[in-house]
C-alpha cells in the first residue's frame, strides 16, 4: 500500500469478503453477486489511481452499488421480448427457488430480497455497508430526505415480512 492507496490485490484479499457480502445482499443470489463483484473489481482496478484515502469500504460499497444499479437500469431498458420468458436474464428480486436456506439469516435474506430495489439498496448500504445517509444519497443519486424515508420504509417492510414469516426476534 503506497500513500494509503491499496493495490488491487490488497483490495481483493483484505476486502473481498465485504465486497461479496454487499453484492450478495443487493443481488439476492450467488450468480448475480459474482457478476457484480467481477464488474466492480474491474472498476475498482481502474479507479484505484484516483482513489483518495478515506473510507475504503464506503468507496467499495458505492462502486458495487453503482454496478448493481447500472445492471438494474440495463435490464429495465431491455425490450419486452427479452423479459420474463427467460428467468435467468432477469435480475431476481427474490432468491432462487432452489436455493437452500438455513437458519435465521436466510429468512432475513429472503425478506431483504423481496424488497423493491428502491428500498433494498439504501437499507443494504446503511445496515450492511454501514454508510452514512449522506454517502448513500451520493451513491444512489437521490436527496438525503428520500434516503431517510426509504430506509425507514424499507425496514418496516422487512420487519413485516419477517413477522409474516414467523420470525419475531431480530
Amino acid at each position: 500500500m503506497a500513500d494509503g492507496v491499496p493495490t488491487w490485490e490488497e483490495v481483493a484479499r483484505d476486502h473481498g469478503r465485504f465486497l461479496y457480502s454487499v453484492a450478495y445482499r443487493l443481488a439476492g443470489n450467488d450468480d448475480d453477486a459474482q457478476d457484480l463483484v467481477q464488474e466492480a473489481l474491474i472498476r475498482i482496478r481502474k479507479g484505484l489511481e484516483r482513489y483518495e484515502p478515506g473510507s475504503l469500504e464506503g468507496w467499495l460499497a458505492r462502486i458495487v452499488t453503482n454496478v448493481f444499479l447500472d445492471e438494474v437500469r440495463r435490464r429495465k431498458r431491455r425490450p419486452a421480448d427479452a423479459l420474463p420468458d427467460d428467468p435467468e436474464r432477469v435480475l431476481p428480486t427474490t432468491p432462487a427457488a432452489d436455493e437452500v436456506f438455513t437458519g435465521l439469516s436466510d429468512e432475513v435474506q429472503r425478506a431483504l430480497g423481496a424488497l423493491p430495489d428502491d428500498f433494498r439498496v439504501p437499507v443494504v448500504l446503511c445496515d450492511v455497508s454501514d454508510l452514512s445517509y449522506e454517502q448513500i444519497a451520493e451513491a444512489t443519486g437521490v436527496p438525503i430526505g428520500t434516503v431517510r424515508s426509504r430506509i425507514h420504509r424499507g425496514r418496516r417492510l422487512l420487519r413485516s415480512a419477517l413477522v409474516a414469516d414467523g420470525v419475531n426476534g431480530p
Binding site: A33, Q38, I42, V128, R155, R156, R159, P170
Partner: protein
C-alpha cells in the same frame, strides 16, 4: 389517518437509530416517543429489522471464485504481470465465474479434449469398425496400393452402385 407530514416525521425514527438527526430533531423525536406508545412500537419494529440486518453474517463467495478472478486479472493485464509482483490471494476469504470464468471453462474444455483423444477407452461400436473396414477394404482394393484403401468408404456409405 396518517398524514404526509406525519409519515415524514416517522422517518425520523430510523434516522434516530442511525444517529442521523440534528440535536433539535433528536429532541423532537424523543419528546414524541415519550408521549406516544404508537411511536415507541414503531421504533421497536424498525430497531428489530435493523438489528436483524446488522447481525447477518458476511457472505462467502463460492469455492474457486477469487482464484479465477485473480487468474482473469493476470491474463488481462500482461504489463502488470511483467512489472509487478503479484500478491497471491490465497488468503482471500473465499472464491468465480462468468467474465473470468472462461479461464476455468477453458481449462475444463482442454481437459475434456485430452480425456477423449488421449485417454485409452474401450471401443463400444458394433460391428467393430476396424474389422468392417479391413473386410471391405480388401474387397475394394484392386492392387493393394494405398489410395485404393479409400475404397471402403464407398460401400460403407452406400455410394457404390
Amino acid at each position: 389517518m396518517t398524514t404526509f407530514d406525519d409519515a415524514l416525521d416517522r422517518d425520523m425514527l430510523s434516522a434516530h437509530l442511525d444517529d442521523e438527526l440534528t440535536d433539535a430533531e433528536r429532541a423532537a423525536v424523543e419528546a414524541r416517543l415519550e408521549a406516544s406508545a404508537e411511536w415507541r412500537e414503531e421504533l421497536a419494529e424498525v430497531r428489530a429489522a435493523r438489528d436483524a440486518l446488522r447481525n447477518l453474517p458476511e457472505r462467502e463467495a463460492p469455492a474457486g471464485f477469487w482464484d479465477a478472478v485473480h487468474a482473469g486479472v493476470v491474463a488481462d493485464d500482461h504489463e502488470a504481470a511483467d512489472d509487478d509482483v503479484v500478491v497471491p490471494i490465497t488468503a482471500a476469504p473465499s472464491h468465480p465465474r462468468r467474465r473470468w470464468a472462461w479461464v476455468a471453462a477453458s481449462a475444463a474444455a482442454v481437459a475434456a479434449v485430452v480425456a477423449v483423444v488421449v485417454v485409452p477407452h474401450r471401443n463400444e461400436v458394433s460391428p467393430n469398425v476396424a474389422t468392417v473396414v479391413a473386410q471391405h477394404g480388401a474387397q475394394g482394393s484392386d492392387n493393394g496400393d494405398p489410395v485404393s484403401m479409400l475404397a471402403p468408404v464407398g460401400p460403407l456409405a452406400g455410394l457404390r452402385r
